[in-house]
């Protein structure tokens, strides 16, 4: 049983991208200050179809198509936020945040602090991340570790349709810049999502599954892959927990410590390259806490290769963890003690 289903307590099933769209629509209906800007989000409906019909519902002013100028539009969002609006920027692929890093990191993240609190920058930057679409190295990165490392940014990675809506609603409410990283492969997945605008608070991990033997902590699309792996592992009598941090900053690590202390084994799964990635922080927190004394085996990270994402489908697949890799890693880890 996954905690989100209990949380949501609804039978209505919609897709992840419908959930994102619903969060934006409900926020725009409730608050005139909210508007959206990005490339091809208007009549086109968004590169991944996320904005869909919003242009027809809210018009060209509030669902604002922009030129191909990522730095300019993120900067415009910063300025609009300083002037009292609540902008939501869509960056077509998270790889293109590289174009806008100055406004994200040197401006949005630091303004509140640099000004001694005199102003804040309530904005949301949404961007799809990840591989699996054959779009190759410049359209498939997972850069969440960068943003999580920047003080002043909150970073969210929704793994379910319910979280896609609930976390985005919370992000739009937040008085700080929030980076919401949506996984391309999740857009078409679906799940129960409440019709009302129910917030999922930032900074709360979700325990997706409780097991006895091993704790898997996974982000993004690796959450569903880990849950699939959990089913297969159960058939071999290996009973695993699956924890989804959901928010990388601020990070709620209590449930991780609690669960790892119980199972004694931690498998940390991410799509991004392992070297200096987000799960290194999880591993470090375990190694630096009393949890380390409860370990029955060393901590194990399963990550994407330290390589760019290649084009060829079989190469792309081999570059990031798949269900079978998670099963294998968990099985090996069980043997290591």
């Amino acid at each position: 049983m996954t905690s989100t289903q209990t949380e949501t307590g609804t039978d209505r099933v919609i897709t992840y991208s419908e959930a994102v769209r619903e969060a934006i629509a409900q926020s725009m209906e409730a608050d005139d200050r909210v508007f959206m800007l990005g490339e091809d989000i208007g009549v086109y409906g968004g590169a991944f179809g996320v904005s869909g019909d919003l242009y027809h519902r809210f018009g060209a002013d509030r669902i604002r198509d922009t030129p191909i100028s990522e730095l300019g539009i993120v900067g415009a969002a910063v300025g609009a936020a300083l002037a009292g609006m609540r902008p939501i920027v869509e960056i077509q692929f998270s790889d293109f945040t590289n174009q806008a890093m100055d406004q994200i990191v040197n401006q949005a993240a630091k303004i509140h602090y640099m000004l001694g609190g005199a102003m804040s920058v309530p904005m949301v930057l949404r961007a799809p991340l990840g591989s699996g679409t054959g779009a190759a190295a410049q359209h498939s990165q997972s850069l969440e570790a960068w943003f999580a490392h920047v003080p002043g940014l909150k970073v969210v990675m929704p793994a379910t349709a319910a979280d896609a809506k609930g976390l985005l609603l919370a992000a739009i409410d937040d008085p700080n810049p929030v980076i919401v990283l949506e996984h391309k492969l999740l857009y078409r997945t679906s799940g129960p999502v409440p019709e009302e605008a129910v917030r999922v608070p930032l900074g709360q991990s979700a325990v997706r599954r409780r097991g006895e033997h091993l704790t898997i902590v996974a982000t993004g699309v690796m959450v569903s892959r880990s849950l699939e792996a959990a089913e297969l592992l159960a058939q071999d009598g290996i009973d695993v927990s699956v924890i989804d941090p959901r928010t990388l900053t601020p990070l709620d690590d209590a449930p991780i410590h609690e669960d790892v202390s119980r199972t004694g084994r931690a498998l940390l799964v991410q799509e991004a390259p392992g070297h200096v990635g987000f799960t290194a922080e999880l591993s470090a927190r375990i190694a630096e806490s009393p949890t380390i004394y409860r370990l029955l085996a060393p901590v194990r990270r399963l990550s994407g290769l330290d390589a760019p994402i290649p084009y060829a489908p079989q190469l792309e697949r081999a570059s990031v963890p798949q269900v079978e890799d998670i099963v294998e890693a968990a099985t090996t880890l069980m043997k290591e003690s």
Binding site: Y44, A47, P67, D306, A307, P308, P310, A312, A318
Partner: protein, 325 residues
């Protein structure tokens, strides 16, 4: 340097074959994709063949180009091998990038193609840098930098064109204005009529030409290349053209009308050039037919050979990240 294609039999034949080859290549890709035999995403340049062909005709083999996500035409026009291109798109080990790069990252050192680019405007600073290398070494080589109308609103365009202008780098900036950056029309993304007007902001010449007129493109780029080679610096050439197909596979064409598309299809750059050279008597019906047949056969052969090649090999992914000294 060659003479205007419309004025020389050999050049005309070569140019026509190049344009048909690009057209057939893109159609083959479209077809393979539709049949699920190709994955990823593809950006086709059908309708823009005269721009790539006319521009590359004005270059020497040792001149370089930088290309874009919509780069098959540039790659072919600069002289790349069809089989290796197709093999790349089919994710084969024999492809230009051994299946690592795919459509958006094909490069060909042999013909001076420094690479397509998945990043809009990503190739523009790179072109300026290659031109700087030529200038520093005192070589008389030129770089032709292809990019779209949408790319002209990226900061990379601004910074790179200014660098080239103040250092008088041997580069020709070729803006292929096909009226849209994905769904966003140039009417909405620019408050000026011609993108070439931006040349003045950097103190370099800017010229707008009918990008579906092979001779016009060739002449404009030739003038710019001569200027660059002479050490007089860059030029901004705007080729006004049109993309017949959707931006990529996900495109439902909601942002433009069937009529507009039909209008532009009526100005097929290839048929226009065929009519022109037949009218002027430069090429006969038979010669034109032979060229069409040749393009079709070359393409079929390339697809055949590419399909027969071994798939990309996943074994050495990590070894390939860093170059060895």
């Amino acid at each position: 340097m060659t003479t205007t294609p419309g004025a020389d039999h050999e050049t005309a034949s070569h140019a026509l074959l190049t344009m048909w080859t690009i057209r057939r290549f893109e159609e083959a890709v479209d077809d393979l994709f539709a049949r699920g035999l190709m994955h990823g995403t593809m950006h086709l340049s059908i309708g823009q063949e005269a721009s790539a062909t006319g521009a590359c005709l004005a270059l020497r083999t040792d001149d370089a180009i930088t290309s874009t996500h919509r780069g098959h035409g540039h790659c072919i026009a600069k002289g790349a091998d069809l089989t290796r291109m197709m093999a790349e798109l089919l994710a084969k080990e024999t492809g230009y990038c051994r299946g690592r790069g795919g459509s958006m990252h094909i490069a060909d050192t042999a013909t001076g193609n420094l690479g397509a680019n998945g990043i809009v405007a990503g190739g523009i600073p790179i072109a300026a840098g290659a031109a700087l290398a030529f200038q520093l070494r005192g070589e008389d080589r030129v770089v032709a930098c292809f990019f779209g109308d949408g790319a002209a609103n990226e900061g990379a365009f601004h910074e790179a064109v200014n660098l080239a202008a103040i250092w008088k780098l041997p580069v020709v900036f070729i803006c292929e204005n096909n009226k849209y950056g994905m769904s966003f029309s140039t009417e909405k993304s620019f408050a000026i009529e011609h993108i070439s007007e931006r040349g003045a902001a950097y103190g370099i010449p800017g010229v707008t030409v009918d990008g579906n007129d092979l001779d016009a493109v060739f002449d404009a780029v030739s003038t710019a290349v001569a200027r660059a080679r002479a050490g007089e610096g860059p030029t901004l050439v705007e080729n006004v053209t049109y993309r017949w197909k959707g931006h990529s596979k996900s495109d439902k064409n909601l942002y433009r009308t069937k009529e507009e598309i039909a209008e532009w299809r009526a100005q097929d750059p290839i048929l226009r050039f065929e009519a022109q050279v037949k009218e002027s008597g430069l090429l006969t019906d038979e010669e034109v037919q032979a060229i069409r047949t040749r393009a079709m056969e070359d393409m079929r052969e390339a697809v055949r050979q590419a399909n027969a090649a071994p798939d990309a090999d996943p074994s050495d992914l990590l070894d390939a990240v860093f170059a060895r000294a």
